[in-house]
Amino acid sequence: MTTSNPTRPSRAFVPYPFTATRHAARLPGLVGDEETGVHRVLIVGAGPVGLATALGLANHGVASVVLEADDSVCTGSRAICISRRSLEIIDQLGALPAFLNTGLPWLGGRSFYRNDEVLRFQMPHDTAQRLPPMINIQQYYIEQFLLDACKTRRGLIDIRWQSRVSAIQPDAAGASIQVLTPSGEYRCRTQWLIGCDGARSIVRDAAGLKLEGTSYEGRYVIADIALKSERPVERLAWFDPPSNPGSTILMHRQPDDIWRIDYQLRDDEDPEEAVRPDNVIPRIESHLQMMGEREDWSPIWISLYKANALTLNRYRQGRCLLAGDAAHLVPIFGVRGANSGFEDAHNLAWKLALVVSGQAGDALLDTYSEERVKAARENLSAGIKSTEFMSPPNFAFQWMRTAALSLAVKHQWIRSLINPRQTQASAYAGPPQPVLRRAATEFQDGPAPGAALIDLPLMIWDGRNSRAGHLTQLLHPGFTLLYFTHAELPLSLTAPLADWSKRHVPVRIVPLFVKVRSSNAGPSGTDISGNLWRAYDAQVGSAYLIRPDGHVLARWHRATNDDIKHAMEWILHHE
């Protein structure tokens, strides 16, 4: 069937091919209107960030209660692009296979100005990588798959649906929470409160914190449509296309034959008017025709989007912590929203777990705030640049963009300005030099303290069997000491590490051999090609101490027990 008549009356909407399970409200055991007992950790919001935080805490054996106002996973068009770093985190949370089974991997994209291709970009990728740089997957799947993982942590994650937090009183020992449900209202107490309650966070208000930054005026229409097309999965952008002169259009393929189409409204358009289906449908129609799409299509969901670039100055206020959209709102261009939220959750979970169990001082939680506020500022600055290009805030950005696009047809050098600057893993500041007790220049290569591990292939040994795998698969929820060796592990390191574990701070030593088969009884790796040793600038006796979130805490060429002790004391107690 062809759809070549642009004046054709409005098309009928179809639903998403996904049925969300509705969850009933449930009241806990109450005395009067009061829940008995005090929760250790209470999370407000079961969006991607709340669920990831609960799963992260469960990895460390810490139970949490999650209060969610809604009765199901989200509907409508929200996050679709999930980065490699997020997938690594999702792997640690035990949900990766479902994401990879459903998500569509992609490597790059193309941009057009009028009729000409002006950019072809590739995200960093090579065959040594375990995971694609990005997958496309609907947010309802993201939430559902995290939820499925939560169900495997019985006794550790208590999700309460249709439970809206209506009032919060923070105090020195935690917070008192008022919860509204269709079955009634109750109050409860928690020692720690985490606000993962999104853009209009009530936890943020209760903590007395305010978002600061810029809100952009430019409006985008965001539409999901059902369309069968065999086009490859890539990011497509058109500037001033013949189908919609003057507009900017973005397209992404999603699983289940759904496509996301975003387009920019002109400044003189009334947004309420522009978002009406009879205004949206002809524009999409015209664009699909220009692309040569002949299959019939149907609208699923249409909404309006306006970019914000806002963050709190701190993500901790006493015993209240903020993560995800509750803490920062980044523009969608560059896909940093949910992706940065996963990094928040991953940074917070192990720190809070150590504080709750008394193994670390609560100053460790200030490092959560410092590290993630800094990451948010970097995300915002990249997101702002993308937004200024995708949605020029005034005549100057508009003129310069037109100039850049028109020159880009011929001039290669200017094309980097059109690159969408997709999200990348955050790097944190490592410990200061006195803590490391070594010169920063000791290593020529490899991830520096604060950076996330570089994942590379190796053979993984579990004591008996071996399989092809990747370095990050050797991590576990505690600290990991990656020790590059040819033979035995030095007793001078293994004995003290066992001491840490007795103090309930699990530190696991993982030997990494080069070329030779492992003789280790526990988990270990063999770097067959020698590439991993090279990438980490490793010598016999080099050691990388890895935080539970996969970031390097410290590294040394000949680590001593004292080196490790200093680094651990620094991170746990800021000594």
């Binding site: 805030p393 310069m400 850049a404 980097s416």
Partner: protein, 58 residues
């Protein structure tokens, strides 16, 4: 000039142009062009750039 430097100087230029205001933008761009003449300091290259910048063919 690497990609990051191009990025930064492009952003700076856009922001300055915004601050100059739309009404004053044309004289600003003309002055910038003249200053660039002096820096390029090569008549042949300047002539080529004038050709290159010249009206975009729709």
């Amino acid at each position: 000039m690497n990609e990051q430097e191009l990025d930064e100087v492009y952003g700076d230029f856009c922001r300055t142009l915004s601050a100059v205001s739309e009404a004053q933008a044309t004289p600003f761009l003309a002055r910038f062009a003249l200053l660039a003449f002096h820096e390029i300091n090569d008549v042949r290259r300047i002539r080529a750039l004038i050709q290159e910048a010249g009206p975009e063919r729709a």
